[in-house]
């Protein structure tokens, strides 16, 4: 009985239109911009907005990477939504960077350049964003066809570097060692460790395995 209701639930999950995932996924962004414009983000609203957008970027990035192990270990198949999660991660990263450049730094090119060169957390954060950009641009069927699946897969391995950079960026922004960035770093390590373990003992070959990562 339980198993049946579970499979029913999983089947329903699969039928959710992708557009709904995009819309629901952007609700936090709209919500935090709304709070910010209405002076509801506390004493330091710019920092709060930046922080929330960055956090959601990291969450969607980790969700994207969690899809493969979820199917393998929990039998939950969300592969249909992987592109949506990945693109949402990029959208949030882009909003995070935009708030930093336009609102936080007030579009001051000198200060931006100095930050980028001298502050490792900015350098690493920007690196993460730049790594995600080509992945977002090629996240459509036409690009997969044009590039060929092998090249496309090779390119999209950049996501591993991007998530490492994002997790490190989070740790570098804070004083001392508070729990939250460490938890995100641990999840990142677990999701990458899973892939490392899989590449060490290949069960299938080539593209099929790659697609499954």
């Amino acid at each position: 009985m339980k198993a049946r209701s579970r499979s029913l639930l999983l089947a329903r999950l699969k039928r959710i239109p992708k557009l709904v995932v995009y819309i629901v996924g952007l609700v936090p962004a709209l919500w935090f911009f709304y709070l910010g414009l209405n002076d509801q983000l506390g004493a330091e609203p710019v920092r709060a907005l930046e922080h929330e957008l960055g956090l959601w970027a990291l969450r969607f990035l980790l969700a994207t990477l969690a899809i493969s192990p979820l199917r393998r270990f929990a039998g939950i198949d969300l592969f249909r939504f992987r592109r949506a999660f990945g693109l949402l991660a990029f959208y949030y990263a882009a909003l995070h960077v935009a708030v930093y450049i336009f609102i936080d730094m007030g579009l001051d090119p000198g200060a931006l350049w100095a930050d980028l060169l001298k502050r490792p957390y900015v350098t690493i954060g920007m690196l993460s964003f730049l790594l995600l950009a080509p992945l977002a641009i090629t996240s459509n069927d036409a690009m997969i066809r044009r590039m060929g699946p092998q090249a496309w897969l090779r390119l999209h391995r950049l996501v591993y570097l991007a998530v490492i950079a994002a997790a490190a960026h989070f740790i570098l922004v804070v004083k001392s060692w508070p729990l939250q960035p460490l938890v995100y770093a641990a999840i990142t390590a677990a999701l990458l460790g899973y892939r490392l373990a899989r590449t060490k003992r290949p069960t299938r070959s080539g593209v099929a395995q790659g697609m499954d990562r």
């Binding site: 506390g42 004493a43 330091e44 710019v46 907005l49 609102i103 200060a111 957390y121 001392s176 508070p178």
Partner: protein, 314 residues
Amino acid sequence: MLIPRPSSVPASEITPRSLYLRRREFIAGAGGLGLSGLFSGSAASARLPAAKSPFSTQEPPTPLKDVTSYNNYYEFGSGKADPAANAQSLTVDPWQVSVEGLVAKPAQYQLEDFIKPHALEDRIYRMRCVEGWSMVVPWIGFPLAEVINSAEPLGSAKFVAFETLVRPKEMSGQRGLLQLLDWPYVEGLRLDEAMHPLTILAVGLYGETLPNQNGAPLRLVVPWKYGFKSIKSIVRIRLVESQPQTSWNKQAPREYGFYSNVNPNVDHPRWSQGTERRIGEGGLFAKRRPTLMFNGYADQVASLYSGMDLKEFF
């Protein structure tokens, strides 16, 4: 030029202070409803009469709401809202504080006796956090120099070491697996910095006794240094011969020096100190403002550091 005036509210519409103060009786009454735990230990704030001071800035003070809800006080958690949420559990009355070490008259005081000899002053100071934000806080306090003088320091005393309470039962950040600093929180000043007229021990803000999240019942305020130097909830003031350890310096010596003077020309290794965001000023689109040398107190304190390389002694 039009100068905006405060809106005139008829006296009849202001809640009489006596009634307003009775809100605590109402809160106490809630105890009968099983709510006592919610409020226990919260100190009744009391009005503190204080004289104006020429050391006060003319800048508009940061709203009380921000001063009391956006705090760094790791004994109650690392989030900015944690102290306001968790510090109500701290018992600040009774409170003992000791003045000891290289002094002719060491003593332990009850807080009332410690404060009694001193005339309270309003000190409206800029406060610059090492994280790049700032406030203007109307403190109430008295010069630390008075305390040091009356303890009669010995000739060998060169530094002053301060210590915050350790009471894990009431300080949630001192419990559990992941503790962010070594306890007790310790801070220190050179004796001449401690004796400087700008350096005060604060017992109140905005006309009333200190809220717990702001370091009740007794804290240091050194306005030309980054906020973490202004140690909260002090239980020990000790005069010593050599430079004392300080908490953030122990935690990350490359990032937080003993002096920690506000200095826009010496960056924190991980972020710039050239600008700051003034809390409560202009919402989401508020511009950063340039950070001033010694937080704008250079005229008064720069001479303390003449001949020193402030990049080395950061």
